[in-house]
């Protein structure tokens, strides 16, 4: 390794930057086939069917002499793991079709932006307690980097929709941009509450702040944000927004197949479609890990062993823990997909603007009060004040709900304005019938 140190510092920097970039990409990029397989199997299991379980099984001949003797008649089960690889091979070898009258540059650019966002989204997530495990950079605005990159994700869907020169695609793109903008706000504010809780935008600091004793009392359980009241509410808000940001069911309106064919990627096929899919799964995984970092204590184990019995820090354990938490997040993603029906568009907007955003804002305000009270009066008073605030919040919410239920009719009717309203025609026809 000496030759490395002998290089000029500038080249060393470049090399380390490349290394870091690879470190950032590999754990997100590599598991994609496994994630797709996992989703299909889990979804099948939840829907009481089998799912892909054959592809990749290798059965050796019993009789052929070509096979070494110890392998004859053996059967290697891969549980269908190779299905994703087969799919990928298929996608990348199919004939590349690009419709006429598309905006070619943008058409090609759109999936690349999606890929770019998915790959760079996780660049500030720490995977272990060491600086080496924080890919790319542990910048002091880490949380904002995540928000910034994820907000760029809107371009991919919007451009894909626009460049396809297709009505459904355009509508999908429009829906996507509106949805992303709407949920971005609640997400940012939910994260802001956590930033205030930890006192730093730096991701490693946020993880570190969750390594304290639970509520300052229970020493062997870490004080993950999700255990605190404001963290819990933020986690709910962020979780919902996270699903909406990745356009996953039940928020998959931009690609709602029974309304818009396939939404923004109707015209896409082969590699580009594959890239969209890959980006989606990578984004899912990354968001799961962001969730884990912010709310589930990052790379920390759920029990603080070092308090019970001091031991040497093993950073690789942290990486495993982190990836496991990411997998847990994925499971929830799939579980939600299997459980909830797709939202109607107005329900989507109502949920985002009328429920999540106010909840996140109030939560932010209560967090501020909490921190203030903790600083001035100590933790006990903060708990009292905070819980009273949440109680009031719940009562107000219940009262509003009660009132709304009382005033609104049980069955909501909504009118749909069509582009060419048939109402005009209808107005004329009865008259004609009456006048003769």
């Amino acid at each position: 390794m000496d030759w490395l140190h002998n290089l000029s510092p500038a080249i060393q920097d470049v090399l380390s930057a490349i290394g870091r970039a690879i470190l950032a990409i590999i754990p997100i990029f590599a598991p994609v086939p496994v994630i797709i397989w996992y989703e299909r199997r889990l979804l099948s299991w939840m829907q009481d069917r089998i799912g892909p379980n054959r592809t990749g099984n290798i059965t050796f001949s019993r009789t052929s002499k070509m096979v070494p003797s110890f392998l004859r008649g053996k059967k290697f089960k891969l549980f269908g793991l190779a299905q994703s690889i087969a799919d990928g091979l298929k996608l990348f070898t199919k004939e590349d079709i690009m419709p006429d009258k598309t905006d070619r540059v943008l058409f090609i650019l759109a999936p690349l932006i999606a890929l770019f966002v998915a790959l760079t989204l996780g660049c500030t997530i720490p995977f272990g307690g060491d600086i080496r495990f924080t890919p790319v950079a542990d910048v002091n605005v880490g949380m904002l980097v995540i928000l910034a990159i994820s907000s760029l994700g809107a371009y991919s869907t919007v451009l894909a929709g626009y460049s396809s020169n297709n009505k459904y695609s355009l509508m999908g793109g429009l829906r996507a941009s509106a949805q992303l903008i709407s949920y971005e706000l609640a997400m940012g504010i939910a994260l802001a509450a956590m930033v205030m809780n930890s006192g730093s935008l730096r991701m490693t600091d946020i993880v570190k702040s969750q390594d304290a004793p639970l509520y300052g009392v229970v020493s062997f359980i870490p004080n993950w944000n999700v255990f605190t009241p404001m963290g819990f509410i933020s986690a709910i808000v962020f979780g919902v927004c996270m699903i909406a940001e990745t356009n996953r069911p039940p928020f998959d309106l931009p690609e709602a197949e029974n309304e818009l064919v396939a939404g923004y990627h109707t015209e896409y096929s082969t590699k580009r479609w594959g890239i969209f899919m890959m980006a989606e799964y990578m984004a899912m995984f990354t968001f799961s890990m962001i969730f884990a970092t912010v709310f589930l204590g990052g790379y920390h184990f759920p029990i603080r062993w070092d308090v019970l019995a001091p031991y040497e820090n093993m950073y690789l354990v942290g990486v495993v823990v982190m990836l496991t938490k990411g997998a847990v997040g994925l499971t929830v993603y799939i579980w939600v997909r299997a459980t909830f029906p797709r939202l109607r568009y107005d329900q989507l907007m109502n949920l985002g603007w009328k429920f999540l955003l106010p909840l996140a804002v109030v939560n932010l305000m209560i967090t501020a009060t909490w921190i203030f009270a903790a600083k001035v009066y100590g933790p006990m008073a903060a708990w009292m004040v905070g819980l009273v605030c949440y109680g009031v919040l719940f009562i107000v919410w219940a009262a509003i709900r009660h009132q709304a239920k009382k005033t609104q009719p049980q069955f909501q009717s909504r009118s749909v304005n069509m582009v060419n309203s048939p109402r005009r025609v209808l107005d004329v026809v009865p008259n004609k019938e009456v006048t003769p």
Binding site: A148, L159, Y162, L180, I181
Partner: protein, 167 residues
């Protein structure tokens, strides 16, 4: 001029940024202009990073690339701007000429006097969120409040504009 890594990075960022700026003006279709602008803003953010201005840089991405330009793209898509074809008229040559002259005048006046490369930068960490937040809530608290009111007015105004007249 010595070729330092900083200069290389600056050139890598500034060159495309300048090209993108030209692209904003030169492209015929509005959406391409918008994309150029996004690209330009994105690179600008990295230029800010090279100035060790973390917070302004990242807000640049969040605010401009992430919010404002998405709005632009959204509106362009809604309006379907192919309706407007850019006709050539007398303003174009005049505008370009004037622009070049403006750049010439400004550059000739400003650049020669900028002789402060010698002074040693001291580490103030002026780009870090802590320092900016501190300043925002102490010496700049009044502008901060005014800006918040301005944003509120902006929100109200846009809601009012977007509201369908029901008369």
């Amino acid at each position: 001029m010595k070729l330092t890594p900083e200069l290389i990075i600056f050139a890598m960022l500034a060159g495309p940024a300048a090209l993108a700026a030209v692209g904003v003006v030169a492209f015929g279709s509005a959406i391409r202009s918008a994309l150029c602008l996004v690209f330009n803003f994105f690179l600008l953010a990295f230029l800010y990073f090279t100035l060790s201005m973390d917070m302004p840089g990242i807000s640049q991405i969040v605010v401009y690339s992430g919010a404002i330009m998405v709005l632009f793209v959204f509106v362009i898509m809604l309006l379907n701007p192919k309706l407007i074809e850019e006709r050539k008229d007398l303003k174009r040559p005049f505008g370009i000429a004037f622009g070049v002259v403006l750049f010439g005048i400004l550059a000739s006046q400003v650049l020669p006097v900028l002789g402060f490369e010698g002074a040693k930068p001291v580490v103030h960490q002026i780009g870090s969120p802590n320092v900016i937040g501190d300043a925002l809530f102490s010496s700049y608290v009044f502008p901060f409040e005014v800006i918040s009111i301005l944003l509120l007015v902006g929100v109200v105004g846009s809601v009012f504009l977007a509201k369908r007249r029901t008369d």
